[in-house]
Symmetry: C2
Subunit: 476 residues, 2 copies
């Protein structure tokens, strides 16, 4: 990973010098990353924590960086010397990558000296916002497809990292492979892809193009059949080459459709392949797909086994930013926590004060997730007693649960500047997402009109918040 | 720059092995990058060519890369040995960064041995699609604001590169600064930013927070006034601190509004600041801005001098991918060009065959741009004779121009694998965009219902295309 210490907003550094001059540089502060709901955000799949941890462990201004900052003419030598020695020494608590997460809950919390905590805000948000966004989009697309989704979007990604870490997030969200060879190597994930239209155009005929490809990849022969005329030229030529392959002792893999009426073409192509004795070949489809078009194709009975999804996945086209925020929740003075709150005219926008813990409450019998439950840090959740859940705004909406299982949703990721959470393979993270996703009733995760999953506050946290709103609510 | 040689789609490599096995590896091919129009793409600002050139000059598979590819089990040792020695030896012709460009015209053309030309497709599209997208969005936002736009979007960018190269593209498109310190250092561009709400929340009172900031930055004091109550608390406290600053011999810089009714608040704040004798202070505004909201604020008479634009710029939120494509235009056999065409049922989607040149035609008197004119390479445009322009689809739409000036829109960027175009500073590129933009009538660049700028074909190119469509139009 590159040294990204300067990957921050200038105001983090101007505030840093301010805190330094005011003698507040060692004051501990607590900041939470969370996101707010919107039409398109019901659940999300957390990702980006691995890059956040790597970044924090490597945080250090190079001499070059300091020289650059000096050249801006706004920082004093005292502060620059301080920055030159700065390392991240704080604690980070975060949900695991692949965790299913919901609006308002702190998915990552930083507890660190104020200057450090501010400095890292921007990069942490960049990693977590981006990868959570793409992992969530992938999860929705994969749910619609029921599996077999390949990530094909690199050329439309917002720069190399968007392609590389976007591919990573897509695998976390459920994709089976990526076309991105760089990401394949970096994260040890399957890569896929065969040929473009230019290959077919570059031979005297489609048949010769297919034969040439079969010569190079006799055991991995997947042919793109829509360059000229899918049903009159592409599929018949593919079948001809498949017969030649089989005669030579190889089994063909299948065909890819990249344009036209994918529902109609896939059904017709399936019949032609089956009639020719190639029932085991697969049909891949691509071309501006997303969860909505895939769901529609399946409803039309399309015979598609594998889906190549590009632009709309890699950019999360209908919602290109998650909008996660990083908000001050507490500071410490003489070791005593002083909770902080950000008020707003909109009740939902008022932040949850204090250093917190998040629990996921599962039904004891079915094992299904019932609600998430945010407490002040140090509160315990006793599984042997009934737990009363109530809506944080409409407090009359209550639910009493017994016989539940409670699990802490976050783990220590960094302690005292050192990484403490295990490094997990992408395969392990993707498997974790699948398992945890299966613990949510479809009512919470479906695309249209989902039920809102409960994210409730403990009585102690709710009282603190209400009391602070009343105390500060009249303005400063 | 990292070694991004593996930043490609797997199919470029499978096709590569196919071409290699068919003995086509040295066959020269010509590919064009262009984009198609849509509701939101009228003109664009080209960018990303600098990163494309750096990437091509550095193209080389490391031993590690080759070992990874070997491990995939799909490539032969003969092809892997070939890849190990592969360098980019071709030519690239491209428009300058900052050039105003239009749908259908080839903004970057690669002429290289087939395997190389395919291998680099994905990364070139990634660079050019991303940066052109963001530079274009920035240009539209800056046109609405009339200047003073600061890029503030890093935390919502799709990964670090999207923030870093997005900031670069935003400067090309007309932004005056970025909050992104990493981009500021890398590209020597101005950085801006002062304080967040957390600064204000972290002092016992807003007034104390402002005073502390003024102590650290007496000559660069810009205060965020909307943490509690903008007009009753924020602006009066700012004025109080501004008076103290002035008494100590410093002039304050201004205030920032980040929420609420920016039109109303800015007008009221302006009156309060002016009445207090701070007429020269500036008012910055931020908060989910884009060209539409900025235009609306200006129509309402908002008194805003400087605009901090984040999410909607750095992600190009209403159009998060440009959709530029890379299409085969010709191959060479025994040194003879064989033009290639990609047919489509949609006339506009049929590609322009052959190795081409692009000219911009300016009116000789006013110097304003009249049309772009695509020819086959080697055609000359004689400024001393009348030039007949006609619509490439509706050929009855014709225009005869005389007394014009013709300029080649592209320059050699890479020749024989070596960079030949000069490396330009970002300031120079941004200045070029401003100058060239001024040569377009506002009818072509305005946001609502713009006139479509003409991009026409020469008679020779038009004949070739028509002849090829007729020859291949019936399917293969």
């Amino acid at each position: 990973m590159r040294n990204l210490t300067l990957l921050t907003d200038l105001y983090q550094l101007t505030m840093g010098q301010g805190y330094f001059r005011e003698g507040k540089q060692e004051q501990l502060a607590v900041f939470d990353i969370f996101f707010r709901p919107n039409r398109l955000i019901t659940y999300s799949v957390a990702a980006g924590m691995e890059q956040a941890a790597e970044y924090l462990e490597q945080l250090r201004f190079s001499e070059d960086d300091i020289a650059y900052l000096r050249g801006l003419g706004m920082f004093g030598e005292d502060f620059l010397a301080y920055l030159g020695k700065l390392r991240f020494t704080g604690d980070v608590f975060a949900v695991r990558e692949g965790e299913i997460v919901f609006p308002y809950e702190p998915i990552l919390t930083v507890r660190a000296p104020m200057i450090q905590a501010q400095l890292v805000e921007t990069a942490l948000l960049t990693f977590v916002n981006h990868q959570t966004l793409i992992a969530s989009k992938a999860s929705k697309i994969c749910a619609a497809a029921g599996g077999g989704v390949m990530e094909f979007g690199l050329r439309r990604a917002q720069g190399p990292d968007a392609g590389i870490y976007g591919a990573r997030a897509a695998i976390i969200g459920g994709c089976v492979s990526t076309s991105n060879v760089y990401a394949g190597k970096l994260f040890s994930v399957p890569v896929s892809g065969t040929m473009a239209h230019s290959w077919v155009m570059n031979f005297p005929s489609e048949l010769e193009a297919f034969r040439a490809y079969a010569r190079s990849f006799p055991d991995n022969c997947l042919l793109l059949v829509d360059t000229y005329d899918t049903l009159r030229s592409g599929v018949p030529h593919a079948i001809e080459v498949f017969r030649e392959l089989r005669a030579a002792g190889h089994e063909p893999k299948g065909i890819r459709l990249d344009s036209g009426d994918l529902a109609y073409l896939s059904k017709e192509a399936r019949k032609m392949l089956d009639r020719a004795g190639f029932e085991k070949t697969i049909i891949c489809a691509s071309g501006d797909l997303d969860e909505t078009s895939i769901r529609s194709l399946k409803e039309q009975g399309a015979k598609i086994d594998s889906w190549g999804v590009g632009t709309k996945l890699i950019t999360s086209a209908d919602l290109p930013a998650l909008g996660g925020v990083y908000k001050l929740a507490a500071v410490y003075e003489d070791g005593v926590e002083i909770p902080k709150i950000k008020l707003s005219d909109t009740t939902e926008k008022i932040t949850n004060p204090s250093f917190k813990e998040v629990y996921r409450i599962y039904d004891g019998k079915s094992g299904m997730a019932l609600a998430d439950y945010i407490t002040r840090a140090g509160e315990t959740v006793d599984e042997s007693k009934p737990l009363e859940l109530f809506h944080p705004v409409d407090t009359w909406k209550r639910m009493r649960v017994t016989g539940f299982r409670a699990r802490k949703l976050r783990e220590p990721l960094i302690s005292g500047g050192k990484r403490v959470a295990p490094v997990r393979s992408l395969a392990e993270i993707a498997a974790y997402r699948r398992e945890e996703y299966a613990r949510f009733w479809e009512e919470y995760t479906r695309q249209d009109m989902p039920h809102i999953y409960k994210v409730d506050l403990s009585p102690a946290l709710h009282s603190l918040k209400r009391e602070m709103v009343e105390r500060f609510g009249k303005g400063e």
